[in-house]
């Protein structure tokens, strides 16, 4: 976006400059306004984009306000998942989808009459997790974020390998990443230091046969144990 603005501004200055050379100073007041107006429309676009991001963030915060998730859970999972995604070399577009899905992955919890203790969905039974994912993806379908986001959220409860050890080829990679990030935050977010994080990562590693995608877990380990900084 910044690049577009710069190109636009350069082209505009060049145009007006050439026009002034060609036609004298009359060109300046005559031809600047349309260019300024188009520069303004770029500015407005940025504002509109920001507004939508904020509304999506509000939607993500809604579970936290309703007491279904711990404060900042959605944001933390989104940051962690983005970190893992970058570590695994996801493209810019995939990363954006990943972030949206991570922000909204718990929306379906709003359908529960009573919150899960601590918001830890990683500890729920699979059918219950699936129901939450499905309800959440129905809401997300309405948000105008790309449809893939809803698919990702619906697929988060699915284990990485089925009971018979086969893999579901349709499982989005982002879903596996968010599953890992969510489990990490559910299990280890009570303000633990590096030791506790190591412990939780170890716990996730135990489950890489079926539950959690091993590459995502290793990427998580690299992200959150890196130099002991908080994830």
């Amino acid at each position: 976006m910044a690049l577009v603005r710069v190109v636009h501004a350069l082209a505009a200055v060049l145009c007006v400059g050439l026009a002034v050379r060609e036609a004298g100073w009359w060109a300046l007041p005559l031809f600047s306004p349309p260019l300024l107006v188009s520069q303004l429309s770029l500015h407005r676009y940025r504002a509109v984009r920001a507004t939508r991001r904020q509304t999506v963030a509000s939607l993500a915060r809604s579970t936290e306000m309703a007491g279904y998730t711990l404060p900042g859970h959605a944001r933390r999972v989104a940051d962690l998942a983005s970190g893992i995604g970058r570590e695994l070399g996801l493209g810019a577009k995939e990363l954006e989808l990943l972030e949206y899905a991570a922000l909204m992955h718990d929306i379906g919890q709003l359908s529960l009459v009573d919150p899960v203790p601590g918001g830890a969905t990683a500890l729920l039974s699979r059918p219950e997790q699936r129901r939450i994912g499905r309800l959440g993806s129905e809401v997300i379908r309405q948000t105008g974020v790309p449809a893939e986001v809803a698919e990702i959220v619906a697929a988060i409860p699915e284990p990485y390998r089925r009971q018979d050890g086969s893999r579901d080829p349709g499982l989005p990679r982002a879903a596996a990443i968010i599953r890992v990030a969510n489990a990490f935050d559910d299990l280890g977010c009570d303000g633990g230091g590096r030791e506790q994080r190591e412990e939780v990562v170890e716990q996730l590693r135990q489950d890489t046969a079926h539950e959690y995608e091993p590459h995502a877990v290793e990427a998580l380990a690299r992200v959150c144990l890196r130099s002991g900084a908080d994830p």
């Binding site: 636009h8 060109a27 031809f31 920001a50 306000m65 007491g67 948000t143």
Partner: protein
Amino acid sequence: MEQSRRALPTVARVYVALVVAAALGWVLSALPQVRTAEAWSRAAVLALLFLGCDLVARSAAAGDEAAPAAHFPVLLAGALLLPPSAAALVALPAALLAPAAPPRAVRRCWNAAQLGLSAFAGSCAFRALDGHRLLAGVHLPAVLLPAGAAALVFCAVNSLLMGGILAAAESGGRRRNWYRSLLRCPASAFGHGLVGLMMAVLWEGPYGAFAGVLALLPLGVAGWVSAQSQRERAAHRATVRALVQAVEIKDGYTRGHSERVGRAAVLMAGELGMGPERAASLRVAGTLHDVGKLGVPTRLLRKSGPLTDEEYRQVVLHPEYGHELVRGIGFLGEARAGILHHHERMDGRGYPHGLSGTEIPEFARVIAVADAFDSMTSTRSYRRGRPVAEALAELERCAGSQFDPVMVTALVRALQRTRWQPALLGREGEQQAPEVPLGAREPLPRVPAPAGALRAGEAAGDRGGTGGTGGRASAWWRR
């Protein structure tokens, strides 16, 4: 195909045929006058440019109706730079190659003829005022008059031809849009004209076509961006809907309520003479007024008996939760105040802050009325909705104490013009909903409370007041 052919009435077909014939006649008869190779090469470059702009505009606007005016400056530059019949050909390749809805051939011919005639007329006007000589010598202030005339003629011919086809082929709303496009004609002629003139001036300079194309770049960027903005805006509306949907997951009783409150609030905004910007903001505020219920435990929202003190205290917090939840959303501004104060009362006995009279933000006063109105008229599983007239009478009765009389009047007037569609009755709701005795409820006794200090007392008072009418039946009062 058969069906779509029938979709275009005969009158429209005759009209299209006439316009195409006129375009062919004029352009072909004048064509031999275009002799120089330079004119032809310019026409070819401009036609390519126009084709490119058209493709970009179509891909950017994907799905939505493309803004057709985004590349008019290219046509206008053609009208200034070329003799009339060559200018008319600039739009030809794009019009014939672009995807069109069926009947495809008719539409394509129509587009080519319509744009061609507009450019032809523009170029004629420019030449009649001796513009081509002034442009070649770059007499800048002097060339403005012919260029302006050309742009005006171009836009006027374009609007008139479009008006004709809309009158012949369409009905109702789209016709009315045409009058508006005719009124906007001078403004758009001014904007497109300036850019077209800039293109022409640069084109006549030492860098020729290259500089001319450069002039188009900023415009192209702006066109692309505004298409993106439109998409983002649509996405934002969808996100707001999703927030509402999230509330409705928790609180099944209010299905559709939020959207209807938004709609009623906009109707009232029309009566109150609010501008379109504020009305749009009010719609968002009305739609999101209950978003704070996300913060209230689902157990309480779905509870069917009377609430305990403690539970009621949690329910009345919802405007504040809502205010907090939409905090990050920059543009909401006035709408946030509407969400926070939609349960205030004119006599100061509302919550959360106990504001009274005009201390209550205007949006909140509108939403309070719209909210109560929709709650009364919609059928819920535990009671039948009241008729519109009765709900209005009840609102008028409470005007002054609970509601702002101005807002109640606005709603009454708005509903005289527009038919209100109350909540559709649920299938099982139709049979089960019991008639609720319509005993007029007095405003509830409440301790006037500054800020949040006395909320507990208020809550108890309110509950005492509604207890008599029995549990759920009075729920709209509190919600």
